[in-house]
Amino acid sequence: MTAIALPAVRTKRRRSRRLPVSARIAAGVIGLVVVAVLLAPVLAPHNPTQGQLGERLAGIGTAGHLLGTDGQGRDILSRLLYGGRLSLLSGLIPVLVAAVIGTLLGLLAGLGNRFTNGAVMRTLDVFYAFPAVLLAIAIAAALGSGASNAIVALSVILIPPIARIAETETARLRGADFMEAARASGARTSSIAIRQVLPNIAPAIVVYCTALIGLCIVYSAGLSYLGLGIAPPAPEWGVMISDLQQYTFTKPELLLMPALAILVASVAFNVLGDGLGSYFNVRQEVR
């Protein structure tokens, strides 16, 4: 008897064939930035936290200080490279934490009975009543400044939107035939959630979270800028902006450097999120 090659059954969304060019460029930019900050010890020409007061506020293109120095004579390029580690991580970690918790809550609400769904979703509604940035600031201020507290605060405000997307996507699958089949074959709800639902809702969550990383980089640098996140003298892009702000009127070009770094990282993640959205054919959820 010859085996018949059955085509794999796919209920997935139709995929457009390729990732858009813009998204590939964005992925390349993100890759470059990641490599650069990982190689900071090799690439950075100076110590990021020790400056030479004799060389303070050197302009861009000064010999030995390609991007100039700040008010304490610290090399801006070196601070950007080392600072990128903290800035990218504090953009990434809250999104990862929120993605795990938010997806679990969304699955719970989407597969649970009316009571569970109501309890989870009405609780999330409360968080929607707060302006997100302000809530993060209030939490971070209450906990006290510090990188880990900023990460907690940002995770809290990112959970509700992710949970809402997971719930919507899960609810959409509720009546699907393969769900009926799984249920009829006696699968437990937890196994249905992991094997049937999760693979189907993952694209929407990944797309949304990619764009959220961009937003989170801006927010976490913003918290540091306000004095709530990573504390000076640690190199971090938001801290650098707040350090260099006092020279706005005398050396504005120095301030441009950390500002541009944040902008590039945030735009790149947003473009990548958009591209992944059209790749997976997910309707973009605008925040």
Binding site: L134, A141, G222, T248, D274, V286, R287
Partner: protein
């Protein structure tokens, strides 16, 4: 309609109770013993126990919440630690200024967002659409604090066009013209992110409406493109109103960076100053007031929507 209004108001109450619980929790997560920090490290255990009892901190948490909530309901949000005045008056004064800035920014964002979103929906596949897509994507990604600083550098100090800080000129300021000049830079900075969001939402809304059957029907009857667009625009209005309400609410709480950069005397700047002084009652009151405003705006938007669109009332 009255019934809908009552129902909608009723549904806001559990949200507000939830909001108060969340804020109460942020008070309780403050590390350290408040009694010890009030009395100092050398205080006697007896004095500490007395103050704990007087502040009601020996009560169970739900009781503490209820007594805190009762004060809140009467508008008593405590006194500022740094300024020694009731928090509510501080916060309300600042909130008025924030409302001015947020409204101006919302108008700018709305006009900009509709233009960008409209172009990218109606000129799909052309260069103009690609450009407006790129602009809206860029504007939702910008960190407001750095764009604000750049505007100060190039338009305020460089070109000398606009004042860099404050709400009125301190010497011979006052009046609408002076206010407008001070509004331009912070207003545009604050408008960028919501403009991008409005553009992207409006774009998908226009694309949806333009693919409906009635558009084809009008086209087959030979209506001019302009007339068709007018009808299509009417169908986007309910969505636009929802977006506008959301974004105004977002601006009320989201202008903290802009206010800090431009020294605009609003809620955001007040919260920022309170962070540096660790004046937590002010921060909490700021959060409560803006959450309250957000809930009110949402109710107003829903009611207006029900008024223009009978389908919502059902």
């Amino acid at each position: 309609m009255t019934l809908y209004l009552l129902k909608r108001l009723g549904s806001a109450i559990p949200i507000l109770i939830g909001v108060s619980i969340v804020v109460f929790i942020t008070i309780k997560i403050i590390p350290g013993d408040p009694v010890a920090s009030l009395l100092g490290p050398t205080s006697s255990p007896q004095a500490r126990a007395e103050l704990t009892a007087r502040l009601g901190l020996d009560q169970p948490l739900p009781i503490q919440y209820l007594s805190w909530g009762a004060h809140l309901f009467q508008g008593d949000l405590g006194d500022s630690i740094a300024k020694h005045v009731p928090v509510l008056s501080l916060v309300l004064d600042a909130f008025g200024n924030t409302l001015v800035l947020a409204t101006f920014a919302a108008v700018v964002a709305f006009v900009l967002g509709i233009l960008l979103g409209g172009v990218s929906a109606l000129r799909r596949g052309r260069v103009s659409a690609a450009i407006s897509n790129a602009i809206s994507l860029f504007s939702i990604s910008v960190p407001q604090y750095s764009i604000g600083l750049l505007l100060i550098i190039y338009l305020a100090t460089g070109a000398g066009l606009f004042p860099t800080a404050g709400m009125y000129d301190p010497i011979n300021g006052g009046g609408w013209g002076d206010l407008f000049l001070h509004l331009v830079l912070p207003g545009v900075t604050a408008a960028l992110v919501p403009a991008g969001i409005i553009a992207r939402m409006f774009r998908s809304c226009v694309i949806d409406v333009m693919s409906m059957d009635f558009i084809d029907a009008m086209r087959s009857r030979g209506l001019s493109e302009l007339r068709i667009l007018k009808h299509a625009f009417h169908n986007t209005l309910p969505t636009l109103m929802t977006i506008a309400g959301l974004q105004l609410g977002y601006l009320l709480g989201g202008v903290i960076f802009v206010e800090t950069v431009f020294s605009w005397p609003g809620l955001g700047l007040l919260v920022y100053q309170s962070i540096t002084q660790r004046d937590l009652p002010v921060i909490q009151a700021g959060v409560i007031v803006s959450a309250l405003a957000f809930v009110v705006i949402n109710v107003v938007v829903d009611v207006l929507q029900a008024a223009i669109d009978p389908r919502v009332r059902a």
